[in-house]
């Protein structure tokens, strides 16, 4: 029942019934105001992030000029932090599609205020991820040889290589999620066009494409969003599977595992949903969106994170059990490294940072208190990043011929470039939240049309109408 002693049952539910008290124009203003008024904190944040990004770009230029040797890579650890962070960003990108496409198809109304923030997270995470296949190339100025175009060298890229699958799959996902983000944005661009002036007006007018809100336009938009939602789900499932096959198609011990594809996908959902929760808590505070992002949204998101975490545990154990049982010498040595060897601190960090949040999220208090949810979900992503570290770097340090075992130590170049993408993501996201209405206003208003309060016995409950 009601766990808030001060709020009467009725007021608690009206607050929940998607802002019935507010007029449409009030909602518009509440969403547009934080976009237009930017305080000093915003500019300090942007300046700091830009500084980190600039330093990272310098480090990348240094890398291109001097060669990959300025990183810590060696034989046999040919792939290190760049590929780790690449996999991490692809993982983060999965949550956006989960929320907007899957929940839209399931008609889960609590997704309404979150979809745009989630889709933006996907698009920017993919942009950051897409940088890494370029950054880690030994001769990045020849990257275009991976593109299939007829040329007088009569050479063609190799479509059997998982890196080519990566190229097309990530491009597809990036194009798909950007178009999805934009399509759902058009009515809100029209709203912003109608309420702003000057440079903003010009931008919104261009992006709104002349949207008026006629019934035909809404009908077509709905149909397109429905098709998009269905089409983007196989894409997002396949992208991380393809990235996992970068590892699984080799005969490297511990990479050569058939469970990699679903393991990575579930891990991505876990990591991405946690990142989404982190971002939502921060944006809610920074843009004063407390009215739109309420406790029931975090509650539902927290439950999803917990379920994803349980799925991750299952797939991790399914892979680990088989490796441990098989007793293959090199795999046994790799496991020994993690459990009681030099990699043990990272391994226990990974396990605790992935398991503790699953337990904590079982408590409603943790899910609905923003500060606690922020801490828990940050911990999840620390654990998931460490997991990718151990898979990529930890496995490569050992292989079938012991003479070829090695150790890896990162350098400032790699760390700077990794930091560059984190700062770049945050920068893009911050700028996005100021240029585009963060909350999908039309979807919230659409949700309001469907909700009423109904009395069942002594309870006053919100009911949703079963209309499309």
């Amino acid at each position: 029942m009601s766990d808030s002693a001060t709020a009467t049952p009725e007021s608690q539910y009206t607050e929940r019934v998607l802002l019935t008290e507010r007029k449409d124009w009030e909602i518009n203003q509440a969403v547009l105001q934080p976009m237009i008024q930017t305080g000093r904190r915003f500019w300090v944040l942007v300046a700091g992030l830009t500084a980190v990004v600039t330093w990272g770009v310098f480090a990348w230029g240094y890398l291109v000029y001097w060669g990959i040797g300025v990183t810590g890579k060696n034989r046999p650890v040919y792939w290190t932090l760049f590929i780790t962070t690449f996999v991490f960003w692809i993982g983060i990108s999965h949550a956006g599609t989960m929320i907007s496409a899957v929940l839209r198809l399931l008609k889960a109304d609590w997704r309404r205020p979150i979809t745009r923030g989630a889709e933006a997270m996907t698009a920017f995470a993919l942009m950051m991820a897409g940088l890494y296949p370029l950054i880690h190339l030994g001769r990045v100025w020849k990257f275009y040889w991976m593109i299939p175009y007829p040329n007088n060298r009569l050479m063609w890229p190799n479509f059997q290589s998982p890196l080519m699958w990566d190229l097309v799959a990530i491009s597809t996902y990036l194009i798909g999620s950007t178009l999805y983000l934009y399509l759902a944005l058009i009515p809100d661009m029209a709203m912003a066009r109608d309420h702003t002036g000057g440079l903003r007006y010009k931008l919104y007018r261009a992006l709104a494409l002349g949207w008026r809100g006629t019934e035909a336009e809404w009908h077509k938009l709905h149909r397109a969003l429905g098709i998009f939602s269905i089409a983007i789900i196989p894409i997002f499932l396949s992208v991380h599977s393809i990235v996992s096959w970068d590892f699984a198609v080799t005969v490297q011990p511990r990479w050569h595992s058939t469970i990699f594809a679903p393991y990575f996908v579930v891990g991505a959902i876990y990591s991405g949903l946690s990142a989404l929760a982190t971002i939502l808590v921060l944006v809610r505070k920074g843009m004063r969106l407390q009215e739109f992002l309420r406790s029931e949204h975090f509650d539902a998101l927290g439950k999803l994170v917990m379920v994803a975490g349980l799925g991750w545990i299952y797939f991790w154990f399914a892979g680990f059990l088989v490796e441990w049982y098989g007793n293959e010498p090199v795999v046994r040595e790799l496991i020994r490294q993690e459990v009681s060897g030099p990699l043990a601190p990272l391994f226990y960090l990974q396990m605790s940072a992935n398991l503790i949040p699953v337990a904590l999220l079982a408590f409603r208090k943790v899910r609905t208190t923003p500060r606690l949810l922020l801490g828990v979900t940050l911990l999840v992503n620390v654990g998931m990043y460490t997991e990718r570290l151990l898979i990529v770097i930890g496995s490569l340090q050992r292989n079938d011929i012991p003479f070829n075992w090695g150790t890896y130590r990162p350098t400032w170049v790699e760390i700077s470039i990794v930091a560059m993408t984190f700062a770049g993501f945050a920068l893009l996201y911050t700028l996005f939240s100021r240029i585009v209405p963060y909350v999908p206003v039309w979807e919230i208003k659409e949700g309001r049309l469907r909700y009423t309060l109904r009395r069942i016995g002594r309870l006053l409950v919100p009911t949703a109408a079963e209309i499309e």
């Binding site: 040797g69 046999p76 001769r139 991976m146 003479f403």
Partner: protein, 237 residues
């Protein structure tokens, strides 16, 4: 039956571990023949040596009863090479003579092949190789000098194979057994390395491949390597 112009050869290397003394003359010869740069002591300690052939060495026992177990390892020129399908730009492919060919100017440096090779015989140019004067006078004009960002590995001295084949074809015959000698084979003082055509049953390497001492490295992985080792006596593997 001698191979005629119609049957393609399959080049193979035989390493007789009973004869190998671990003197590393093959390593030096390979560096000289193939313009392989020297990485230096600190980079080598970090695992960034550039040797295309390297003597894998393991220490056994405690002083004063220490034994060294060693074997020369180079690109095994696998028949079913795991490094070939993973290159996104076909910088490594399987040529009709059974060699795993590396095309230097096609490589964009993803290093996927390095991860996929179970023998870890592929080396990467981490920096632009420096050949301090007067070593530049010694560079082999038959082999390209690689810049940074390119993977490289033992090629069975394909430049020597080609030059002998061309000379033989100009004389209207096939290369004789033992006529083609990669740099390491030519240099090896005790004669532990032998090179020849596995498809010719009469060649020396074919006969040795049928020896009871023969084994191949990591055979259980199914890579079908073209390097055949002959088991040694006590001092070696």
């Amino acid at each position: 039956m001698k191979p005629s112009a119609e049957t393609k050869p399959r080049w193979a290397l035989v390493v007789d571990l009973d004869r190998c003394t671990g003197c590393q003359a093959c390593v030096v010869a390979c560096h000289a023949e193939n313009n392989v740069p020297v990485a230096g002591e600190s980079l080598t300690a970090y695992g960034r040596w550039m040797h295309w052939i390297i003597i894998d060495r393991y220490w056994e026992g405690e002083y004063p009863n220490v034994k060294a177990r060693f074997m020369p390892v180079m690109c095994q020129q696998c028949g079913e090479a795991p490094c070939e399908p993973v290159c996104p730009v076909f910088a490594t492919y399987h040529n009709p003579e059974g060699l795993n060919a590396q095309i230097y100017n096609r490589c964009i440096g993803t290093r996927f092949c390095g991860n996929a090779c179970p023998y870890k015989v592929r080396t990467f140019n981490w920096f632009r190789p420096e050949f301090p004067e007067p070593l530049t006078e010694q560079l082999n004009p038959d082999v390209s000098v690689r810049s940074r960002g390119i993977m490289e590995k033992c090629t069975f001295c394909i430049q020597r194979i080609r030059s002998v084949e061309m000379k033989a074809r100009a004389e209207g015959r096939a290369p004789a057994d033992g006529e083609i000698q990669p740099a390491c084979v030519q240099t090896c003082p005790p004669g532990a390395l032998l090179f020849g055509d596995l498809n010719d049953p009469a060649s020396r390497v074919s006969q040795l491949a049928r020896s009871h001492r023969s084994f191949r490295l990591l055979d259980e992985l199914g890579t079908d390597p073209a390097v055949i080792y002959l088991k040694g006596g006590e001092t070696n593997v």
